[in-house]
């Protein structure tokens, strides 16, 4: 038995026997597979979805300016005057300063917030707009249609839609409403020479921290926000949201786990008898355990594969209809786009071990107890 060939053949025989045994108890094993695969599916869905959103946010911020400067007046966010931009342009390490105009607008018709924005290129003709796909869907609007808003002064302003942004253009484009600068100022009452905030370009990443300090010195009423900080905030928000999803789910998960545990660890009279017979005809305790290890391994591996494959399809194919409402946050206009698959191998590995190992432990204990008793007792 020390030679490898019989040892290998022995495992083949045990595996064959296991597969046949699983087929004999088809209903029970299918039930286990469904319950267990469902558990993996839920966990993997949350995992994939959080990962993909983080990835998406990361891509987004990669194009964002290194520093955004806001102005704070008595702790309140206020408009930034053009003079600030001039001051900041003088700081060493700053390549460019761009005043940005953007704001949220609540539309009572669809009861949702739009993000109104003047694109940096400012290539939109006054009186027209380019809108995000979710917004277009919500308002049932297409190219050539006219949408109107009431501005800060109560006057109604109409925009003719010039274009709709493509579906797959990302997480934040869904509720965009792009307008020309004069229209924006008129709608929000922002005087000329004032901006919502300033975007700073700093080519050398090692200078970002010092530039931020110099911004504070040069304009004490300003609040510089680093891209790194935003990235961390995004991560924290998504982690928090995934915790939020997992919390109500954890009850269901626990129920699943208990059910699977009970199913897996209970040994039917039939199985006990079979173990007794196998031992009586000369199988060792180790042979029985190896056989059951194959069984548990096959079952949990199948459940893992089915669960993760279904989760992959759910998240990246269907855009996670079961999770999206919680995960995407406050914007009511959900982006309708496919997430780019982004999977963290270590997380997947952790999920694998968290699902397969406890299952094996759950199955092996009772089998071990049955397998170490004298065979004549098991058969009575």
């Amino acid at each position: 038995m020390t030679e490898w060939r019989p040892a290998l053949a022995r495992q083949r025989y045990l595996l064959d026997f296991t597969v046949a045994a699983m087929r004999r108890r088809r209903a029970r094993n299918l039930g286990l597979l469904v319950v267990y695969g469902g558990m993996v599916f839920l966990l993997a869905s949350v995992l994939f979805y959080t990962g993909a959103l983080k990835h998406e946010a990361g891509l987004l911020l990669a194009e964002a300016p290194e520093i955004v400067v806001q102005r704070m007046v008595a702790g309140r966010h206020d408009l930034v005057p053009e003079t600030h931009a001039e001051t900041l342009r003088g700081i060493r390490g700053v390549r460019g300063v761009q005043g940005r105009l953007w704001g949220y607008h609540y539309d009572p018709v669809v009861r949702a917030n739009y993000t109104l924005l003047v694109p940096p290129a400012d290539d939109i003709a006054p009186g027209t707009a380019v809108i995000g796909p979710a917004l277009a869907r919500a308002r049932g609007a297409g190219i050539g249609d006219v949408l109107s808003f009431r501005g800060y002064d109560g006057a109604l302003r109409a925009f003719q839609i010039q274009a709709v942004l493509p579906q797959d253009s990302g997480l934040v484009s869904a509720d965009l409403f792009l307008v020309a600068e004069p229209d924006f100022r008129a709608l929000f009452g922002v005087p000329a020479g004032q901006y919502t905030d300033l975007a700073l370009r700093i080519p050398n990443p090692r200078e970002i921290q010092t530039v931020a300090e110099k911004v504070l010195e040069a304009a004490p009423d300003s609040r510089p926000i680093l891209r790194e900080e935003m990235l961390r905030t995004y991560d924290a928000v998504f982690d928090w949201r995934s915790a939020l999803v997992l919390l109500p789910l954890s009850g269901a998960l626990l129920a699943f786990a208990i059910l699977a545990w009970e199913k897996a660890s209970g040994l039917s009279a039939d199985e006990r008898r079979e173990i007794g017979i196998l031992k009586a005809v000369g199988w060792e305790t180790g042979d029985v355990l190896a056989m059951k290890l194959w069984e548990g391994g096959l079952l949990s591996l199948l459940a893992f594969l089915f669960g993760t494959a279904a989760a992959y399809w759910h998240v990246f194919g269907l855009s996670a209809p079961l999770l999206a409402p919680v995960m995407k946050g406050w914007s009511v206009l959900y982006p309708d786009f496919r997430l780019t698959p982004a999977i963290d191998a270590t997380q997947l590995l952790a999920l694998f071990f968290l699902t397969v190992l406890p299952y094996l432990a759950a199955t092996l204990v009772p089998v071990w107890r049955a397998a170490v008793t004298d065979p004549d007792e098991v058969m009575r």
């Binding site: 038995m1 060939r5 019989p6 040892a7 290998l8 053949a9 022995r10 495992q11 083949r12 025989y13 045990l14 026997f17 046949a20 045994a21 087929r23 004999r24 008898r273 079979e274 007794g276 017979i277 196998l278 031992k279 009586a280 005809v281 000369g282 199988w283 060792e284 305790t285 180790g286 042979d287 170490v372 004298d374 065979p375 004549d376 007792e377 058969m379």
Partner: protein, 236 residues
């Protein structure tokens, strides 16, 4: 093929921890020389099955010693007992204990799996045994579909697959009619002729009085009450 089984003061208790401890086997000294057919007789509850499980290493005696070829096997650790069950003793259970859902051939091959022989050689060996026992045509059948006689032969083939020197059968004719019982005795005769040691338990006068039997040991209340040599014809 050489297997001399000796029992020294063997006792087996059930419900040991209870105040009403019950001794199913209560002090048995017995020597079974290698080869020959021995029948354990006695009324129901006399301890026949229990004694067979002790000899066949399916259970351990509470007291006393079981020896195989002079070696004490009653205290051996489990893997050694499993090896003895696998290779030295073949056991045919009263209710056969075949594994349902598997074919006759798979059931017969089962005891050889832990040894990991080549699949082709094992299949050939199992098929040859089935043919020899007259049920070669049933090799592919599921065991649920077998008649009593076929199930018994399958159980015998399974007991013989690793070529054991001792074959133990508990009440082998309990479920068989006269013709099938006689056919069973023919098989016993063949196995005896090969030099195997056969140990049967039986109520059945047909078995006890068969010409192939060398010796009848009578049990009552877990003790030996009579022990006669019966055999006339010489071993093959």
């Amino acid at each position: 093929m050489n297997a001399r089984v000796e029992l020294w003061g063997v006792r087996k208790a059930f419900q040991e921890d209870h105040p009403n401890v019950f001794w199913a086997v209560d002090g048995i000294d017995l020597a079974l020389p290698a080869g020959g057919v021995t029948v354990l007789a006695g009324p129901s509850g006399s301890g026949k099955t229990t004694l067979l499980t002790l000899i066949g290493c399916l259970a351990r005696p509470t007291e006393g010693r079981v020896r195989l070829d002079g070696r004490d096997i009653s205290g051996l650790p489990e893997p050694f007992l499993a090896a003895l069950r696998r290779q030295t003793f073949g056991f045919v259970f009263q209710r056969f204990n075949l594994i349902r859902g598997l074919t006759v051939l798979d059931n017969v091959m089962l005891p050889a799996y832990p040894l990991g022989p080549s699949h082709r050689a094992l299949t050939r060996r199992a098929t040859a045994l089935l043919v020899r026992l007259g049920i070669g045509h049933r090799a592919g059948a599921l065991v649920e579909s077998l008649s009593g006689g076929e199930a018994q032969r399958t159980a015998i083939a399974r007991a013989l697959i690793n070529d054991p020197s001792v074959l133990i059968a508990d009440e082998p004719t309990a479920n068989l009619d006269t013709a099938l019982s006689l056919a069973f005795l023919d098989i016993v005769s063949d196995l005896r002729a090969e030099g195997r040691t056969l140990l049967l338990s039986s109520h059945d006068p047909l078995v006890r009085e068969a010409s192939v039997v060398d010796r009848v040991v009578e049990l009552r209340d877990g003790r030996v009450v009579a022990d006669h040599e019966t055999r006339a014809e010489p071993a093959g």
